[in-house]
Symmetry: C2
Subunit: 254 residues, 2 copies
């Protein structure tokens, strides 16, 4: 990385925003926003598209999602505090979608952090979904675009969270390695350091993490392992008119 | 560090808040708040007490500080955007205070980030000032108290900044090593990782940091080196009735 002095020798910026509340401070001049909620909303979204769903509608409230319970062609999914909301069959577990044939279905989803971040950044020029599941596909696509990239972490209840920031650092590291990107924000440098500390053992950094997360990890061990396993998918979900759909990467990069 | 499972085997929490805007989310249950603005407000405060000043009054606006220009016994200090505000002789440079005899003086100070964070947290049970200059004295004192500790980074214009977070990680690391503290927040773990990445070369992490900071570093090289040199002082500034004074650590810990 080389971005000092009077000469700027990169074309575009890649920056990390740690919490949704800071989005307005980081949004100016950004072309593509990548929304990140590793545990587990954005991982579940990628897994659902891999199982064939047509579209995912992110909604802010449980009430909105509940209107789709039992409606033909729809899957209503709602998570609060890492639990499936009573009355719903789906929460934010990606494993709930794996191995199912969901072709033609629409998911209406609300989660504690992830769908909130999507709705906050819905006016971005382009909004896509990132998770370890689609890490390489996402990075390759981002490098092909000629846009500034903002990596928007969903956090945990408006606070900083570790796994989203480590993932953001992983994306940043690849984009910097392409030579087309540079950073200006301290948060971006910090995310890179976090990724470098964690990259050899993603589970390890979570094991070192606070009690809430350790308990979550014990309870959701299979889910967490799945969410931290890179490159299980080449799908990039993209927001179009308020709905997430599978990006046609063949036509968009050629 | 061991803080998982059903048993909690530490007495107190030490947590890191990366930006002042998040203070209300981190403040509950905290006894001592350490305000951190490494470059350069809290470093300057420690240096000023070392040169004999009686008290420092942190104010929010340049206008308030300007009322003390030329008043006998007072030093008016104002910094905005890393520069001394026109009309003032002092900004936030610690070196401006070093080697001077300031006994009996009162400093009235306003800075871009640091004094803002102090005023935000003024209602804490106890508010003290942290910088690399008083690192060991501060940590030793914190370990002696029986309180939860919040390390409040001043950030840069409401955003995350690297040097405050690395310093917070340094304090956290020492408090955890005492065996009396544990953490619950992901931000605290992240600060520790940042400190571990930076500890062998504080200047190095700033050199890797974005352009704004690199330019600042070049321009303020002597100042920055001074601010990143640990343990030059045993002073712990503490807020009493809206004014910072030198803590009498002999009486407070015995």
């Amino acid at each position: 990385m080389s971005n000092g002095g009077s000469e700027v020798d990169y074309k575009h910026r890649v920056e990390v925003c740690f919490i949704p509340g800071q989005y307005p401070l980081y949004a100016p001049e950004m072309g593509i926003v990548v929304v990140i909620d590793v545990l587990r909303a954005t991982s579940a979204m990628v897994a659902a598209f891999d199982s064939g769903v047509d579209r995912i509608i992110p909604v802010s409230t449980v009430e909105e999602a509940s209107q789709y319970i039992g409606r033909p062609g729809y899957i209503a999914a709602a998570e609060r505090n890492a639990e499936v909301v009573p009355g719903f069959s789906y929460g934010n577990s990606p494993l709930a979608y794996v191995g199912q044939d969901l072709r033609g279905k629409t998911i209406v989803m609300t989660t504690t952090n992830g769908t909130k971040a999507i709705n906050l950044a819905h006016d971005a020029k382009q909004l896509v979904i990132g998770s370890f599941l689609n890490l390489t596909a996402l990075c390759d696509w981002l490098i092909e675009q000629n846009e500034n990239v903002l990596l928007l972490c969903s956090g945990w209840k408006d606070k900083f969270n570790l796994e989203d920031s480590v993932f953001a650092g992983a994306v940043l590291d690849r984009l910097l390695a392409s030579g087309k990107f540079g950073v200006e924000e301290d948060s971006s440098i910090a995310a890179k350091y976090m990724y470098m500390s964690a990259r050899d053992n993603y589970m390890g950094i979570l094991k070192a993490a606070p009690r809430r997360r350790r308990i979550e990890q014990l309870k959701l061990n299979a889910d967490v392992k799945f969410c931290l396993t890179p490159d299980q998918s080449t799908v990039i979900p993209v927001l179009r008119n308020g709905e997430l759909v599978k990006m046609d990467t063949c036509s968009s990069t050629s």
